[in-house]
């Protein structure tokens, strides 16, 4: 009886892990089998380097450069905001704050991660965007800049909690040795603790990057949706995720537009795949 139980347990867990792998490969296969046919309608150079995205016009233009640039601009903006805030709060929580302050601040930052993205989107649309028009005198509030701010706030808890984990696993004797040599707290944190926690911190930033570039609802609601290469950060952009999500509804299955959207998904997949590999590589190196 016991032996049977043991074997069944083994079987169930094995099937479960197999299942996720099958699903993953299924998704990748669909992505490529639906996305590659776009190359029959447009050559790969035009697809990747033309900024003109007019998929429903006749004749259509399938250039996704402006969508790729849109994604990269908002993601870079989000990281510029989230890295200092996330890393700063991680250092404060793990190195400077007393146990009382730590107990209060940590859950609050983690609470940010639990807010659904559509709520962030509403906040950006109804509050942030009119506020930016008044504060900066910019002509429009739905643009790459406002999307970056909101995405940045969303990424803060990821960078903060993961970096905090990495920093707190740095052995205490490293810090004590540093203090013993006469280093101040600031010097210890910047020159000893952070380099020691380097891989965890970089990993958290990579994860934040993945979250920001894959976020869909917020950019649909706040980025403005204009498929153009922005001349400034105050212009609207149309990130890849926003294009896929808001256009999939109108496409006829099997049409060039449909394949083009899957083509965008392939590019997005490749970008996140590469970031994941880099992250994995950093962690592997650390373990050795």
């Amino acid at each position: 009886m016991n032996k049977f139980k043991e074997r069944m347990f083994k079987g169930i867990t094995y099937t479960a892990s197999l299942f996720t792998i099958i699903v993953l490969f299924g998704i990748i296969a669909t992505l490529f089998s639906e996305g590659l046919p776009i190359l029959k309608h447009v050559n790969i150079k035009d697809f990747l380097t033309s900024p003109n995205w007019h998929p429903t016009h006749f004749p259509p233009d399938f250039g996704i450069l402006s969508l790729i640039v849109g994604s990269l601009v908002v993601t870079a903006g989000a990281l510029i905001i989230a890295i200092p805030l996330g890393l700063g709060s991680a250092i404060y929580i793990s190195e400077i704050a007393g146990p009382r302050a730590k107990e209060i601040i940590k859950p609050i930052i983690e609470l940010l991660a639990g807010i659904p993205s559509v709520v962030y989107g509403l906040f950006g649309m109804a509050f942030l965007s009119p506020f930016l028009i008044k504060a900066f005198g910019i002509p429009s509030g739905l643009n790459a800049f406002s999307a970056s701010i909101v995405l940045g706030v969303m990424v803060v808890p990821i960078i903060s909690s993961m970096s905090e984990d990495a920093i707190s696993t740095v052995p205490r004797n490293l810090r004590e040795a540093s203090f013993a040599l006469g280093a101040t707290k600031w010097e210890t944190i910047v020159q000893i603790v952070l380099p020691a926690a380097r891989s965890g911190v970089i990993g958290s930033i990579m994860l934040g990057f993945g979250r920001a570039i894959g976020e869909t609802m917020v950019v649909i609601m706040i980025a403005g949706g204009a498929a153009q290469i922005p001349k400034s950060i105050f212009q609207p952009v149309r990130p890849m995720t926003a294009a896929i999500a808001s256009e999939m509804g109108e496409t006829v299955i099997g049409s060039p537009h449909f394949h083009a959207l899957f083509g965008i998904a392939i590019i997005l997949f490749i970008i996140t795949f590469i970031t994941n590999i880099i992250t994995e590589f950093i962690f592997l190196k650390k373990r050795k």
Partner: protein, 271 residues
């Protein structure tokens, strides 16, 4: 051991209950999806209809005209709501004919920020603004201010009708913002001083200023007699053998009571 047997029995019981419930539900359910322009009418009508017939459950989803028609083609819904006629590409995909019922009329209103001094535009000026030939309000008699052009996303029926009537196969300029719903456009225009956008008549609010197009203001009367150019019918699509319930719901919207709902939601009645 005994408790696990009871658990298994309980689970089987629940699964059976679920299937029975699903079967019962299926017969008393109407699924609709599609245009966000038609959505307020269907939602309001569904609420009143379900109050009168408490056993019937109507599910109302948005998603855009394209989704409504696509779901009709895949037969995942009973009624597809559309703010435009089905196009050639879509009708080629089905062998059966879909039945089209016009349920209301809508006027696409051109709106600007309430502080904008402009009161009227011609169709030609509107076309030039959206294609990028006119970029400053000064060129159409307004203040020296950049025009922020707001369009709808391409899964919306409003976008297609606007393209057909106003743009006449010219492209919308690349840097025009494309927002995903009538409400998003209305909100953005209400707080963006240089903005221009287009929304369904039902979404016009006090913070927005509606422009005269070719000298005509969009109202119920001008939409009904076709004086206002940017008008369109709103449709419900069913298969050629609609469920009795679905047909009954459409008849309800076409009745005096239903048309009153249409009017209450800010659209134009057709009967």
């Amino acid at each position: 051991m005994k408790s696990s047997k009871i658990l298994v029995l309980l689970i089987i019981g629940f699964v059976m209950l679920y299937f029975i419930a699903a079967c019962v539900q299926r017969t008393n359910r109407i699924n609709t999806a599609g245009s966000t322009t038609v959505l307020p009418i269907v939602q309001a009508a569904a609420e009143i209809y379900m109050q009168k017939n408490p056993k019937i459950n109507i599910s109302v989803r948005g998603g855009g005209t394209g989704i409504g028609i696509k779901s009709m083609i895949n037969e995942t819904i009973d009624i597809g709501n559309a703010s435009r006629k089905i196009n050639k590409r879509e009708s080629d995909l089905i062998e059966k004919d879909l039945i089209e019922t016009a349920i209301a009329k809508d006027a696409i209103s051109i709106v600007v920020h309430k502080d904008n001094p402009i009161v009227k535009l011609t169709l030609e000026q509107l076309k030039k603004i959206y294609s990028g030939d006119i970029i400053n309000w000064r060129s159409v008699g307004g203040n020296d201010k950049k025009i922020i052009v707001i369009s709808r996303d391409i899964s919306s029926g409003s976008f297609e009708v606007f393209n057909e009537v106003v743009l006449d196969s010219t492209m919308v300029k690349n840097n025009a913002m494309k927002l995903s719903s009538n409400n998003a456009v209305a909100t953005a225009v209400s707080y963006t001083p240089g903005a221009i956008g287009y929304i369904g008549l039902g979404y016009v609010r006090n913070e927005l200023k509606v422009l005269k197009i070719d000298g005509v203001l969009p109202t119920r009367e001008t939409a009904m007699n076709n004086e206002y150019k940017l008008t369109r019918f709103l449709y419900m699509y069913t298969t050629d053998t609609p469920k009795k319930l679905a047909q009954d719901f459409i008849d309800f919207i076409l009745s005096e009571k239903g048309q009153k709902i249409v009017e209450e939601q800010g659209y134009v009645r057709i009967k």
